[in-house]
């Protein structure tokens, strides 16, 4: 970029600043864009169907989004470190059943939730240990643990099923009630989201996760405790998947051995749509959560405007493709603009 010395040295500050705001805008725009799409989509649906954003409608939207948003938050933390956790669906399923089983036996709801979180964290620890100690690609390891945990779940659960009438009333109520249209579950998810977002932004270990994802080699050389941080990310992700499992139980009151099957792909979609790049080091949990809200809202929007729900899967897929394609095209544009600017600077200096 800068090839010659002193005379130009005054320019870079402003030039760099220009480039930065451009890039900054792009990233901020990323989360804003998801938000805008969401608002437009909901607004249009509301115009089409006046019942859509009723109190119950909003409540349903939020309830549907809560669980995915929680898991996506955890997944985003892992993806930021340039890893991935495919086992979240299995972890969600087994924690939901564990909590349900415990409640069935007359346990206290609070302990049941903690149990689910602890179980999730334990599986997160397993994943983190395999990935960081074995130095094995995360995709492969967590694909393996996806199978293993699902298998254990299936053996344990067998053909049993947990139903809402076997659960304490307070617990089920917690899954349905709320303050006006805002369910408690959504509030809980929001608190978790804000906490994780604040942690990532304002704590050294949180910043380390971005550093790690941005360049693992540089992180090692900078003395970042790489293994420990990767473990942290996986434990967090597992714990949130576990929490989501408990909330799933509260919300649906119905858990069997197939609960959470195939969920990993929806979660990954939400994270990517929300602008967290697979290459690590960029994006935010807020984006991932917004992505989750967007994806689940489509499920509610389609029936409301009279489109058959068979379209949901296809639309989710196309949305994901659009998200990454648009990102990429924007990035290429920005690069081209920067290049052209640099060239103009140079030719300006020639005169």
């Amino acid at each position: 970029m800068t090839t010659t010395a002193e005379p130009v040295r005054s320019a870079p500050a402003s030039r760099a600043a220009g480039a930065r705001t451009l890039i900054d805008k792009m990233f901020k725009a990323r989360e804003l864009a998801v938000l805008a799409v969401l608002v437009v989509m909901l607004g249009t649906t509301q115009i089409y169907n006046g019942e859509f954003l009723s109190e119950q409608g909003i409540k349903d939207l939020l309830l549907n989004a809560t669980i995915l948003a929680l898991v996506a938050t955890g997944q985003a933390v892992v993806v930021i470190t340039r890893n991935v956790d495919l086992s979240v669906g299995s972890v969600l399923g087994i924690s939901a059943f564990a909590a349900g089983n415990y409640l069935n036996g007359g346990g206290s709801p609070l302990l049941a939730v903690l149990l689910a979180v602890a179980l999730g964290a334990l599986f997160g620890l397993l994943n983190g240990a395999l990935v960081s100690l074995g130095k094995v690609p995360a995709l492969v390891v967590t694909l393996g643990t996806l199978y293993i945990i699902r298998g254990i779940d299936s053996i344990w659960v067998g053909s049993r099923q947990i139903t809402a009438d076997a659960l304490p009333e307070g617990f089920v109520g917690f899954g349905h009630d709320g303050i006006w249209a805002v369910p408690y579950l959504a509030l809980l998810a929001l608190v978790v989201l804000l906490a994780v977002g604040y942690y990532l932004r304002s704590y050294r270990s949180g910043r380390d996760l971005y550093a790690l994802g941005s360049s693992p080699e540089a992180a090692r050389l900078a003395g970042v405790p790489v293994r420990g941080r990767i473990m942290t990310a996986y434990v967090l992700c597992g714990a949130l998947a576990g929490l989501a499992g408990a909330l799933y139980l509260a919300r649906f009151g119905n858990v069997d051995s197939a609960t959470g099957n195939g969920y990993e792909l929806t979660v990954v979609s939400a994270v990517v749509v929300g602008g967290v790049a697979f290459t690590g080091g960029s994006g935010s949990v807020y984006g991932a959560a917004l992505g989750a809200v967007l994806l689940t809202s489509i499920n509610s929007v389609l029936p409301a405007i009279g489109v058959s729900s068979v379209w949901v899967t296809a639309i989710n897929g196309i949305l994901l493709l659009l998200a990454i394609a648009v990102d990429r095209i924007l990035a290429l544009r920005v690069a081209a603009v920067l290049r052209k600017k640099a060239a103009q600077m140079r030719s300006a200096r020639h005169d």
């Binding site: 492969v140 694909l143 199978y147 053996i155 697979f278 899967t313 989710n316 493709l321």
Partner: protein, 344 residues
Amino acid sequence: MTDTTTKATARRGLGGAVRWDTAVGALFVVLLLCSFSFVDNFGNALNVSFLIGNTLPIALIALPMTLLVVSGEVDLSVGSTAGLSGAVMGALWNEGMSIETIIPLCLLLGVVCGLINGLLVTRLGLPSLAVTIGTMAAYRGIAQIILGSDSVTDFPSQYLDFGAGRIGDTFIPYAALPFLVLLAIAVVVLHATPVGRSLFAIGASEEAARFAGIRVKRLKLSMFVTTGLLSALTGVFWALHYASARYDNATGLELSVIAAVLLGGIDFDGGKGTLGGAIAGVFLLGTLQNVMSLLNVSAQSQIVVTGVLLVVSVLAPRVGRQIAQSRARRKATAVPLRPPAATS
């Protein structure tokens, strides 16, 4: 003796081409022998033909998937492509089109699916993992839109027979014959042609391959197209083999294929592996499942076994390499003048 083994392991570690594929092949043979000897009903021709028939969908897709993974890419949409091709087959059959027209159309559809994946990856430079997670949902969704929750079963009987039957009383399903031809082609392409060499080079270092004049994008695109084509073929086979075309046919097949291919020693980072290893991995898993079913091991436990095998298969070579390295280090420290105590 220890000396030579250490050296050998160290070299394997450095070369990266851990002879894992041979180990998996050997394991497969051992499993076969044990099963023939000790498992009741395993050895009869009908069971073996079932085993092969049920493994064929994974094996078919594993062929192009191996080439794709060697070149450093992956396609998660294979199961959905198969499902879509089956769904289209069913829908067109319901429309009264002749099966001889339908099958080529389905294959063409597979080519289009692969082309979309490939263009998104090579033209836009997107990561194949993200792209194919997207198309995985999209293709499956389109299958659902096309066929809804119907299932189409009344395909012509000679086709159903081809999909499910075997040659006389032998253990060989009809469909195994075209598979063997495809296998031979794939082996030759990957291990004995410039295309194969180029795929390995691309997987190991895409930039260096480009600087060596290899047409990286074109090759990758053609691999995606081939994968789409064979996935569609698998979809057709699946519908005939199980005599049912549904939108959710072959769901989760992508994970089975990838698990098998990785088990066979194909490095997910690209540039390493052999087709022999991949196919050994596929049939090792297939046989294991068959044996476990015969032994009345529940389907759930089978899932656990698959997962454990997968984790072990990626963990073992690396752990082995680390042990070899630390052993080599110990050996080296024994030589110098100073007492080894100085190290710690």
